[in-house]
Symmetry: C4
Subunit: 204 residues, 4 copies
């Protein structure tokens, strides 16, 4: 049977989930109620008030896009498939589809003095995403789905990055109980590092 076909449709479903999650994030940015706005100054103030929501939208959009780039590179090196590999990908999609919720929490509460649960949950989802990443690469390695030795090595590096990310975001998730603002800044910083690293990567 045609295994490539299965991953082709997995790609189509994944692209759909990634694209929708990226675009749904903006739903949290709601136009202010026209009746509560009485002047241009009021309007600017309400937009200023929406800045943390826009910031968390930007962070989550970047995270989903980078994950998409990585996911694409991974699928490309795995021409074969298996049921566990498929369901590990399903788990990754679950964490992606879930992101709009902690993003909304982060945007609404980061500037309040009870932001901790939002930052804890946000990092917990990133840790869960790392678990999905470990499962996907592990399934591919165990079942020998990789294209060749090169792909095998890429998968191993990817899996080890997954372990690193799991430890990092689990720790951040715990520390966020006491220092939510500092952790939110750190979380953002880790993705700026990822972004710069990805920008320098060769996709040739």
């Amino acid at each position: 049977m045609n295994e490539h076909n299965l991953n082709a449709r997995l790609e189509a479903l994944s692209d759909g989930v990634f694209a929708i999650a990226m675009t749904l994030l903006v739903i949290e940015l709601k136009a202010p109620d026209p009746e509560s706005i009485h002047s241009v100054a009021d309007f600017w103030a309400s937009l200023l008030h929406a800045l943390p929501i826009a910031g968390s939208f930007l962070l989550s959009f970047t995270i989903i896009f980078i994950t998409w780039v990585n996911h694409h590179a991974l699928i490309r090196s795995v021409p074969r498939t298996s049921a566990p590999f498929l369901f590990a990908n399903g788990f990754l999609l679950l964490t992606i589809a879930f992101i709009p919720f902690p993003t909304a929490l982060l945007g609404e509460f980061i500037l309040t003095d009870h932001a901790a649960p939002a930052v804890v949950l946000y990092n917990a989802v990133l840790a869960a995403q790392a678990v999905a990443w470990i499962l996907i690469t592990q399934c591919a390695l165990r079942s020998g789905l990789a294209r060749d030795d090169d792909a095998q090595n890429t998968l191993r590096t990817s899996r080890n990055n997954g372990y690193g990310a799991f430890v990092l975001y689990s720790l951040l998730s715990i520390i966020a109980v006491w220092f939510p603002t500092a952790v939110a800044i750190l979380t953002t910083a880790t993705w700026i590092v990822w972004l710069v690293k990805s920008l320098r990567a060769k996709h040739t």
Copy 2:
């Protein structure tokens, strides 16, 4: 004419509907109103309160993903198409697109003492989905759309599973009038069984 083409676009539309339904589920998880939260404890309590909604999100996500895996396997064994086959698929997509509504009902009401209508409707939708499944396989079998004898047998097994699922979820839907909580647990259990069975299936 190119029949494969038609099913290719059916796959594209289906992947779209599956992906959107999976991602729309999370819209029910709404950030609590910042003005109703006065402390970290309040915030945790409101997240705890959202747990049944998260649970029903997880259940529906799993159901849609497993259905997607099965749908993909089915389409793969049917290279030809026909109008009834196309519209039977449309009916399946209808049940998929509808799932976010009973999911929201289940999440909001499962812990109240009037959960029955939510559980009844949820299982009724699963029964309707089984009907869609029976129609799809039946159309493919009648019009001789299957690729070969192997595919024919797979379709027959799939149709019989559909009959089984229809009886099961219709019964659960009726019993839920009196025992909603027990039925909700049973419904979840049936999908855990499906998940384990699917994970062990060979997609090679």
Copy 3:
């Protein structure tokens, strides 16, 4: 240049818009506020109250799916493209993306005694969709984009159906000012006829 490629991406965009419009319809079906429901009877009553919304969801879902089937058949017979053809398709997508709004109006107001504007608008959108259909087929015919004589004839039939649909839904839209309920039933009936006709069509 590769013209097929352009229509391939037009198909991808169209499938996306069709799939999202179909799935977004369900957003109008909102779970009732748990605090307004005090008993199982209350819950059933609120679901009963949502029936017209579910009905208009079903009607619009059917309309979008049938339009998708027709759109697919049309694109298949047009291997070449042109800028006007592309933008005529864009206009069709506009009418599809717009459907969730009149659908919501229809569902909310059909059982009230001031349903007229909802039914007028609903049929006006169907008339606009017929215009899009005329434009698409006309552009394809004028620029000679059709695959062969057979395709040419199909396009001509399709265009004439478009003219018929435009006259029909324009008239219904006007009559709805005085007889909204009767027109809503008639509109639904026309799509049942379409559905039956489509089901009997040969897609081989």
Copy 4:
């Protein structure tokens, strides 16, 4: 490695984001609360009231569709890829995914006497989109990703259009602080020009 593949999946993701952004716009058009409507006249008045929202929906839909046509033509002339090219496309998708928010603001506030912030933001997003366009074409030109000399020239024209659009929408964004209505009309006019130009373009 297969570079075409990467752009193929970039196209799939992009088509998803474009399609969803186009369809999400309609969510802002909400059915009026049935309890606030007591007569057919009330209903028509509330629909009339929604006209500016429908107008901004139409404008944004047109902008996204034209951008999609241009994006498609661009990707078609770039068979190779690179990490910066990929992330420049990600930035374009960010501006597309963001459009529903300023669209909602424009629709809600354009007829009030404090519309300025909405028009400023709307044009700022169009200026950001021009930046994305410059980045994409510049990345493709620098890394020599273009298919041939023809494609190279197309990219250069496209980049120069990007510079022009950036200057134009930045200026409009600033002027909108004082003359929001005039700028809103001008912005709409620029896209009508674009639409007419695109309609006359050869896609053969």
